[in-house]
Amino acid sequence: MLENIQATVEAWPFLARGLWVTIQLTVLGSALALVLAIILGLMAGAPARALSVPGRIIIEFFRGTSLVVQLFFIFFVLPQFGIDLPGMVVGVLALGLNYGAYAAEVVRGSIASVPRGQWEATTALSMSPVHRMRRVIFPQAWALMIPSLASLMVHLLKGTAIVSVILLQDFTFHLDQLRRVTDTTWAYAVVGLVGYFVLALALTLVMNALEARAKHRLGRGPSLREILSPTPTAKDSLSTAGRGF
């Protein structure tokens, strides 16, 4: 036990470096996934078939092929066509494409579930399709999609572990190094478990905050400041009193 702790402390600089790689992959991969999800989700939900059909094909392709295969493809096959990308870029690209395709379905579904009356009101006010999406529909869909996006992000975080197959030295890679000097149980079941759990928890807290903010903007639920303030003020209890007359 003591040796294990000792070894972990000694390995900490490496583990920290691995954690940093995992965090980068998660944040950059999620950012790319979100951008792709919004583009593909809007395409797939568009009334014009010239947009929706390609959107659907891209989504189904990247959802239907496994992350490992996509990773190998970008890492080993693309260089043969002269496209040689650094490991980090390959990791972010594969994670972004794979999870972006899943998230695109979330985006499309959330947009479709904004009540019909909202769409009709924008027509009655002569808004253009872009204006309608940007100012009315998307802000409402955003609040609906955050919980599902959050759970996909946690999946993505855990998905980053497989990038060690393309020799990226992430947290899992360094856990494996640690295993050699300690033992499997310690490295994976204690250090690994705690490491990934803390990262996932941090991610979930950030997404919960985003969700609370998005809902507050739609007039549902208290503001973030009210949630975070330790003592509720009189103003807070007023604003949470709901629809009084």
Binding site: A121, A124, P139
Partner: protein
């Protein structure tokens, strides 16, 4: 009361042989009618008779499956070219659409915007008004509907009646020539209906906006309308001024309908 319109002038709304089908279900058939500029026309009839569909066609929320709708003589969604019925471009449709406003049964305020943002959004971004100009007008309209103090409130903090008053202000902020009112009091508590109808009465008295109204509030229909159209099964059964319609309807179908909604003994017989 609006000034009597010149019957020879181009009607502001004209339906020519309009048909609306949803699959096999024919909602409107061979419908011909017109509304003159400044007229207030109420559509009555049993549910499913096609009244609301008419408003939705004028607002371009639906498109007719056959026939033509003209707004001030201009085709709304389709025109006839070389004997064939062709759809207009979205740009052309939008140009006519900005002349028309609508208030919905369910208010449909945007929950992600404050009251004032709801009202100024389209005047600024669609009509190109300056923010200061749009805000000034919005505050004026809020005053008219008695909600001066709610400019920065969120729709979710308002009662149904207040939300509907904001929705009326929002529609008026676009300065529509035609205002469509689709059962605007049906989702409200009975004691709040009066305040909303009062505001609409005042708008009817102080402006010359053409109004096409679907309502179950027969007293309101009688008070503000120049003309009442009785619908049944997708066709007009009777077209009369409100006094005639409500006291001496010519058709048995109208009598039956009014008896059902107003109760026995309310309708004078010839």
């Amino acid at each position: 009361m609006p000034t009597p319109t010149d019957p020879a002038a181009t009607p502001i709304i004209e339906f020519r042989d309009v048909e609306k089908r949803f699959g096999d279900n024919v909602v409107l058939k061979n419908l011909d009618f017109h509304v003159n500029r400044g007229e207030r026309v109420t559509l009555i009839g049993p549910s499913g008779s096609g009244k609301t569909t008419i408003l939705r066609l004028v607002m371009t929320l639906e498109e007719a499956t056959d026939g033509l709708i003209l707004i001030d003589g201009d085709p709304l969604t389709h025109r006839i070219v070389d004997g064939r019925r062709v759809r207009l471009s979205n740009r052309e449709i939008k140009r006519t659409r900005t002349r028309i406003g609508m208030v919905f049964q369910q208010f449909n305020l945007f929950p992600n915007m404050t009251v004032i943002q709801n009202i100024t959004e389209s005047p600024i971004h669609v009509l190109g008004q300056s923010k200061a100009e749009a805000t000034r007008r919005a505050r004026d309209l809020l005053h008219q509907v008695g909600l001066d103090d709610k400019a920065d409130a969120h729709p979710s903090s308002l009662s149904g009646g207040q939300q509907q008053r904001v929705a009326i202000a929002r529609a008026l902020a676009m300065d529509p020539e035609i205002l469509l009112l689709d059962e605007v009091t049906s989702a409200l508590d009975p004691e709040i209906v009066g305040e909303v109808l009062g505001i609409l009465r005042r708008i009817a008295e102080t402006t010359d906006i053409t109004m096409l109204i679907v309502t179950h509030e027969m007293q309101f229909a009688r008070d503000v309308s120049d003309r009442v159209l009785m619908f049944d099964g997708g066709s007009i059964v009777e077209d009369a001024d409100p006094d005639t319609m409500f006291t001496a309807p010519a058709h048995e179908r109208t009598r039956k309908f009014l008896k059902a909604v107003l109760g026995e003994g309310q309708i004078g017989t010839r």
